[in-house]
């Protein structure tokens, strides 16, 4: 058990809580989960001026102690000491946006009433000054009965003062002053009290947030707003491919070098085959996508930190309302283009349970980055690299078509789900639009590092295991000379069974073999095909690089197209299924997702194969 006193960081969304957390703890952070829910638990270490260590935990932003979403539930349960797996905090640091004092103070009053020692961080005090607000900190502190410290978290101002104030209220961590149910207060009463305190402590010269209003005049304009959003999304997807080209090349070269190095050191045999065809080929074919994922997340993190993401939700609300969702669903769905897992986790901020369930069920249809390796290999092998006019290449057009197919399918699915299994009136749309802010390098970098780590961890465990297992199943039992090793192997025999099911939709034996381990993660399909063809043609040297050439000779065009359509729909990602199970608290919805997505995948691949064959492609 951790002996350092626990201090919780609490505040409204958009108060600058995460920036303050990063400023106080630096990169010494641990990201975990609260038991039973997928709400992230972010904690870090900091030292008080007298050297005492503190464990600081960053609680999800919320507007009150009356929880509407799972995120807010965790915050409430922690501060009243009811959260499983968390101690009752020894003190709270309540973060307030100085420019929004009248609103944020209400939550602070609720928190102070809990009876835990409290220090208030009056954050974004620089913005308040720029807005023409003068806040009397002493008067505020007196009215609230707790210490108030001015801070500018993004520039690390006021951190020492905050730590000093904290040192005077935090005990030694062995016992906490009090706990219990929060006293019942009606929001309106508290709100009015908060407003009175705020008005008494604040002198204002103007109400304007000049920059935010000027930017919004363009970003939310009925005509230029949607155009700007389209441009930003276009640049984002363009950048994912063009910026990643060079680093992907380096990673490929690095793994090719590693394969050659192993070959030159080890004699031909089982061990060399395991390392070269199994481990290096498998991990390499997945790791090359790290640059793409990081670039996509870079855009998403910057859009979030700058305050633009909420504007995008505002602009998309009308469209989403058409299928029974709200603009809020747009943010998780956009994240799902990087990976459905953070996307599904981001649905925690949607308070309406039916909206949330629908968003969870359609998120896997967004083209995540794990599909890119599959698309890239198949498109590279079967779609000619010629222009269709106006500088648009046929290959890019097909890729774009696959993205659009996923989006359209998701919208239709949402429309149907909202009228059948998640029937009910629309929950509406209501969101605070924060001021625009320059994203801080440190905060974006910490977010990116955490994403990169999650991806590398997955590649190093789940994907490595799946590839090695597949290699073993493909290599044993060893075929007698003259027999086809792949068909003779254990994996080959399993695939032969599956082949009877997928043969009608144009899939061959190798595809049947590749889609089994691809249940672990979609990108494994590529490494699996690479491994299958590497073992089949064991005397050839390169695996990954010649995969495109090998596919070209062996698959027909209708088969390749059917394979692409399969991957638009098929829920081939165990982690996603696991996250759906955790988020929906049971097996019902993950099993439903598996059934409806595999059903759609089979039909879509089938129709594509039959149509392409009929057209004589």
């Amino acid at each position: 058990m951790n002996s350092a006193p626990l201090v919780a960081l609490v505040g409204n969304p958009n108060a600058g809580k995460s920036a303050l957390f990063n400023a106080l703890t630096g990169a010494r952070q641990k990201v975990g989960n609260y038991p039973g829910v997928t709400v992230e638990r972010k904690s870090g270490r900091m030292a008080l001026p007298d050297g005492r260590p503190i464990e600081l935990v960053d609680l999800p932003g919320t507007y009150s102690l009356d929880p509407a979403s799972p995120d807010e539930q965790v915050t409430r349960d922690v501060v009243v000491g009811k959260q499983e797996g968390e101690r009752l905090p020894s003190a709270l640091v309540v973060v307030l946006d100085a420019t929004n004092l009248d609103n944020h103070l209400r939550f602070a009053l609720q928190l102070i009433a809990l009876g835990l020692p409290v220090v208030i961080a009056l954050n974004m005090i620089d913005m308040a000054k720029r807005d023409g607000l003068t806040i009397d900190v002493a008067a505020l502190s007196k009215a609230l009965g707790v210490q108030v410290v001015e801070t500018v978290a993004v520039r690390r101002l006021g951190m020492d003062e905050l730590k000093t104030a904290l040192a005077t209220v935090v005990g030694d961590g062995t016992r906490t002053v009090r706990a219990g149910a929060p006293p019942e207060h009606d929001i309106v009463t508290l709100q009015r009290r908060a407003r009175a305190i705020a008005v008494a402590a604040t002198q204002e010269e103007s109400l304007e947030r000049r920059w935010t209003h000027r930017l919004d005049a363009v970003a939310l304009h009925p005509v230029s707003g949607p155009i700007l959003l389209a441009v930003i999304l276009f640049v984002m997807f363009q950048a994912v491919f063009s910026w990643s080209e060079a680093p992907v090349g380096w990673i490929e070269a690095g793994f090719a070098w590693a394969q050659d190095a192993v070959r030159s050191v080890l004699p031909a045999g089982i061990l060399r085959s395991l390392l070269v065809d199994g481990v290096i080929a498998g991990i390499g074919s997945v790791l090359v996508f790290l640059p793409l994922i990081l670039i996509l997340f870079l855009f998403i993190l910057v859009l979030e930190a700058s305050g633009y993401m909420v504007r995008a939700a505002f602009l998309m609300d009308r469209v989403m309302a058409g299928v029974g969702l709200s603009g809020r669903a747009f943010i998780p769905l956009l994240s799902s283009f990087a990976c459905a897992i953070p996307g599904i986790m981001a649905t925690r901020t949607i308070d309406d349970p039916k909206d949330r369930l629908t968003t969870i069920l359609i998120a896997p249809l967004m083209t995540c980055s794990a599909r890119l390796p599959v698309y890239a290999v198949i498109i590279g092998a079967f779609i000619p690299a010629r222009e269709v006019g106006l500088g648009v290449g046929l290959q890019g057009l097909v890729l774009f078509g696959l993205y659009v197919t996923g989006i359209v399918a998701a919208m239709i699915a949402a429309f149907v789900i909202r009228r059948t299994i998640a029937k009910g009136e629309s929950a509406g749309f209501m969101m605070e639009m924060p001021r625009y802010q320059m994203p801080v390098f440190r905060d974006v970098a910490i977010g990116l590092m955490q994403r990169a780590w999650i991806f590398l961890h997955r590649a190093g465990t789940l994907i490595l295991l799946a590839t090695v297992l597949l290699w073993a199943l493909l290599s044993f039992p060893q075929s007698p000379t003259g027999r086809d090793q792949v068909r003779y192997s254990a994996a080959g025999r399993i695939a032969s069974g599956l082949e009877t099911i997928v043969r009608p939709i144009g899939f061959n034996h190798e595809i049947a073999l590749a889609i089994i381990p691809a249940m672990a993660a979609r990108e494994v399909a590529v490494s699996a095909l690479a491994t299958v063809y590497a073992i089949e043609g064991a005397d050839e040297v390169q695996t990954e690089r010649s995969l495109v050439g090998r596919l070209r000779g062996r698959w027909s065009l209708p088969t390749a197209l059917a394979f692409l359509m399969w991957f638009v729909f098929a829920p081939q990602c165990l982690s996603t299924i696991a996250v759906i199970r955790r988020e929906t608290n049971g097996w019902k919805w993950p099993l439903f997702s598996l059934a409806y997505l595999f059903g759609l995948a089979y039909l879509a691949a089938g129709f594509t194969f039959w149509a392409a064959t009929a057209l004589g492609l």
Binding site: Y63, A68, N100, R106, D216, P222, A321, A427, G428, M431
Partner: protein
């Protein structure tokens, strides 16, 4: 002065909230509105309209900017007050 609904308030015109018909709102919606600072006597102003001038709208409530749909805004009765351009 005339009392009108928030969704009919012309953009950039300041007003005071007179009455909020909480019964016309769903429980969760009403609670969220209270949390975001909607209350009788608070100053509001419509800042932006959604794409094509349709849903949703963005209003300033106190010092915050809140996006909400017109149907929700219709529950809020406001009274415009004449003021020189800020």
């Amino acid at each position: 002065m005339d009392v009108m609904r928030l969704n009919d308030l012309p953009p950039r015109e300041a007003a005071l909230i007179r009455v909020i018909d909480w019964t016309a709102l769903k429980a969760g919606e009403a609670r969220r509105m209270r949390e975001l600072g909607f209350d009788e006597g608070v100053r509001v102003e419509t800042l932006h309209r959604g794409p094509m001038g349709m849903d949703p709208i963005a209003c300033r409530v106190g010092r915050m900017t809140i996006a909400l749909r017109r149907k929700t805004a219709a529950a809020v009765s406001v009274e415009p007050f004449p003021m020189a351009a800020e």
